[in-house]
Symmetry: C2
Subunit: 234 residues, 2 copies
């Protein structure tokens, strides 16, 4: 008997939900699709899984192609596998979501793809099931960031507590008490206070902090209970 005979083989793709934070709003990076079907429509950046790579490697490659970045936070969301999701041919797609420091993002690369950042409440209609992928990624982000110190991935190396708070408030679309917020953040003992201040956004200036990378990695799995009643915002 010949194994695996007479079985359908599928195209397997990865699609990346790339999120960034511009200091005020969470944003999603989209491209104008360069080929048929659905050419010139807004789309997630994606690519096909190649013979020599696994799906995570594909996602890293695709991410680097568009942003120039590697070593960033990247996590598999889930498979999107409805038989007719692409009208041209069946494609199973693995959605990955990535959190990047928007300042590191290299603009020139994405010119090739006519890429643009969109605020989350202004996302256009995307091809296929890409809007579902985005929704799913936002949910996952909120879920995970409520429990793990994930959002630091969206900030530059040096950041202030007020910047961090704005980020959390953007993700959960709510506001936090700044006294309780900073106490909670600092009690994690993940942050190292710097000598210098950020002076753009206020006269007094806010101290910069850096992540203590060692503690960040060892404590990442610890549950934070960071967002009170987080499920209300999922």
């Amino acid at each position: 008997m010949v194994p695996y005979k007479d079985l359908e083989r599928l195209l397997v793709a990865v699609d990346c939900i790339i999120l960034g934070f511009d200091g005020a709003k969470l944003k999603l990076l989209l491209i104008k699709r360069g080929f048929e079907p659905e050419k010139n429509k807004w789309s997630l950046m994606g690519g096909f899984v190649q013979p020599n790579e696994n799906s995570l490697e594909s996602a890293k490659r695709v991410l680097k192609q568009l942003t120039g970045l590697s070593g960033v936070y990247l996590e598999e969301l889930r498979a999107f596998s409805n038989p007719d999701r692409d009208p041209e041919e069946r494609i199973l797609s693995l959605a990955y979501f990535a959190l990047i420091d928007i300042n590191q993002y290299q603009k020139q690369l994405s010119n090739d793809y006519q890429a643009e950042w969109f605020e989350l409440d202004q996302i256009p209609t995307l091809i296929f099931d890409h809007n579902d992928m985005v929704k799913s990624a936002i949910r996952r982000l909120r879920y995970k960031a409520a429990l793990h110190p994930l959002l630091f991935e969206l900030l530059p190396e040096k950041f202030t507590i007020p910047q961090l708070q704005i980020l959390y408030e953007a993700v959960y679309d709510t506001i936090f008490d700044k006294r309780n917020f900073s106490r909670k953040v600092l009690s994690l003992e993940l942050l190292v206070k710097q000598k210098d201040k950020e002076k753009e956004s206020s006269k007094k200036g806010a101290y910069f902090y850096k992540l203590d990378l060692t503690k960040y990695e060892t404590n990442f799995q610890a549950f934070l209970n960071f967002i009170p009643n987080a499920h209300l915002y999922l």
Copy 2:
């Protein structure tokens, strides 16, 4: 231009990590693989994604084939996609984990597959990367059950608080204070006390409880903080 030309198509499979609880231990359902390669070795139950179904539907079909059950808890873990994970031909596999009531499981069906239940610390060497899939599933179970009322899926319709505690203790391989445990469980207000008692395992007998299904569904997303310092056990 012909879209999607010259791209590799892959076999796409689903593999199911099926977990049950026999009243004392967590157990994993394995089969003896019936075809080459690796014929007669222990394996997860799996199957190929068919042209007319998405991957979740495949997993449901595969699960029903082996256990006779449908409507049980089933969740996608992640893709396993290393190019050489199957020596015969490249197969991308989506791992799903399932929680079933072991009493509902229909033994005769799985005779066809020479299926057996294994305690978690006695799992044999499995084909391909199936041992990794199992490890990954256990981690996910511990993670999720620490936050959501998930383990009820492993119990029969009527169960006692002591039975529930044994289950939690099996999953986390630790012991809990029974006074704090029952108070915490009952404070969820998910359980409805029954009039009758379970008298097999003690002279006094323990009251049966049933899940309040309405509250179960609406509160599933609420975070429990059920396991103190859960990350220590992940």
